[in-house]
């Protein structure tokens, strides 16, 4: 890591640690908690949707499995922290099963399949007794006492930090390059010897594990879950949009996306009530139109030189258009 980046990371972490002490207002800490959780979720999604370019709109499946897993295991007497881990493992196993099926599909068909899997889980949770049907389940709080929400916030920041470091390690290593190759062109990737199915699956497993942890933390903070929240399409979409708005495939993108999107939605909710959804929508359209690589991706592109120099031996002075 370049030195200034390391210092920047340390500064951000220290700032995150201090934030909840600046305000004594639980409501504001709760907003910070949401930002941190969604930064972690966006970063987890980034492994699959950013690096590997597999546009999942079904991450609510893992989010919900983590939430329900925590509730169900603790209700059966399993210690809380072990339940958390078990819930994440269940989500990972589920990811292994759906990955094998969904990764046979490419492009929009893959995306549709991920939506379908999350919907199947939502309907299942609505109709089973063990999940409490549409009424849902109570979720234990992971921390006791008055500073409970502050502790939840710290847990979320740690999860986001770990996920960021996983992203960082990935971006600098062979698996990261392999995932990017898969994103750019699967045929080319396999022509250089990459087992594309296996690498996509590995990325999904890690992503699902972290997403389930995030879902469990989120559920624990609200202390009650219903299928229409935990497995909601809205969760899947929000996770994906956060990463894409900030810049899919970049390291800082999902973090920036979470901060901007959740802050904006909070501000607009207070200012414009229901109208905030409209503004939210318009913002997303603007970014997609004018910053297709996201905010961080767009900035990186500005900083990079564009025009390649010179021509090859035997080429005419006027270069033909590429990819003809």
């Amino acid at each position: 890591m370049k030195r200034w980046r390391l210092w920047l990371l340390i500064a951000v972490v220290i700032a995150c640690a201090c934030l909840p002490f600046i305000t004594q207002n639980d409501y504001q800490v709760r907003i910070l908690f949401r930002i941190a959780i969604f930064a972690a979720l966006g970063l987890a999604w980034n492994l699959v949707g950013g690096f590997a370019g597999q546009l999942s709109l079904g991450h609510a499946a893992f989010f919900g499995l983590g939430a329900y897993g925590l509730a169900i295991f603790t209700a059966r007497g399993v210690p809380m922290w072990i339940s958390l881990l078990l819930a994440a493992l269940v989500a990972t196993l589920f990811a292994a099963a759906i990955g094998r099926i969904a990764f046979r599909l490419r492009g929009p068909y893959f995306t549709l399949a991920t939506i379908a899997f999350a919907e199947v889980l939502r309907l299942t949770a609505t109709n089973l007794e063990i999940t409490g049907g549409a009424i849902g389940l109570d979720v234990p709080t992971l921390f006791a006492g008055r500073s409970f929400i502050r502790m939840m916030y710290f847990a979320a920041v740690i999860l986001a930090l770990i996920t960021f470091l996983i992203n960082f390690a990935t971006s600098r290593s062979r698996p990261g390059y392999y995932l990017m190759a898969i994103r750019e062109d699967e045929d080319t990737a396999s022509a250089v010897g990459i087992d594309t199915a296996s690498y996509k699956l590995r990325a999904l497993l890690i992503s699902a594990f972290i997403t389930a942890l995030g879902g469990a933390l989120y559920a624990s903070s609200s202390q009650h879950i219903v299928p229409d929240d935990a497995f909601a399409m809205e969760i899947s979409v929000q996770i994906a949009i956060i990463a894409m708005l900030g810049g899919a495939g970049t390291l800082a993108g999902p973090v920036a996306g979470a901060v901007l999107l959740l802050t904006a939605s909070e501000v607009f909710k207070n200012q414009f009530r229901e109208g905030h959804l409209l503004i939210y929508g318009v913002l997303i359209v603007l970014v997609v139109l004018f910053l297709p690589d996201g905010i961080v991706g767009g900035l990186q592109r500005l900083l990079r030189r564009r025009n390649p120099p010179g021509s090859l031996p035997g080429s005419p002075d006027v270069q033909p258009e590429a990819g003809a």
């Binding site: 600098r172 290593s173 062979r174 390059y177 392999y178 990017m180 190759a181 750019e184 062109d185 045929d187 080319t188 990737a189 396999s190 022509a191 250089v192 010897g193 990459i194 087992d195 594309t196 990079r304 030189r305 564009r306 390649p308 120099p309 010179g310 021509s311 090859l312 031996p313 035997g314 080429s315 005419p316 270069q319 033909p320 258009e321 590429a322 990819g323 003809a324």
Partner: protein, 245 residues
Amino acid sequence: MSTVLELKNVSKSFGGLRAVRAASFTMNQGEILFVIGPNGAGKTTVFNLISGFLHPDEGSILFAGHDISRLAPHQTARLGIGRTFQIVKPLSSLTVLENVMLGAFMHTPSPHRAEERADKILDFLEMSRWRNFQARGLPLAALKRLEIARAMATQPKLILLDEVVSGLTTGEALALAQLIQRLPEWGVGVVGGVEHVMQVVMKIAHRVVVLDYGAKIAEGAPAEVVKMPAVIEAYLGPKYREMAK
């Protein structure tokens, strides 16, 4: 010379279309072999069969002693078959260097080593000054070289060059041909496919296989093949009929 690649009576159909019909040929170590034929003769299908993107309906393909007829593309690549694509498939948002590093990662997990290896190959292909530019937006001549560089970085025993000079000016094509001619120095055999740039084939091919409607109609040294009546009839046309006389 030892045989590296052998196709035995390979056939492949797409629905009712018989794209390759009982084609057989061999390729020796360090050889530059060109598969030529008119548009639709089955050249690209042959390359897809060898590299595992397609599997033959009948017949078998042997590479370095293994039957590779049923292997997946990433498995044939690991055995030592590199390939380029007729319609170039660069990893657009990655840099030229990163594109080539991806090939080099087959033999080392270290980005540093992969970079060293990639730099050597870029240097050989006279691509070094493009190193840090995104592959998107490069001119076609550079993209064709990038395809070769990426395949070379996997250290293949054999490289399949599908229409490697198509779309290039004559000058660009000849400059590239000179480099392809030197690939055996790197321990790489070449199977090239060319539709109509005979100039390049005549200059660098050791041997030529001619396909027409998926069947092999001739094989031999380039200078002999272009004189064969069947080849002239099916493919080369009257200009070569004059030359043959």
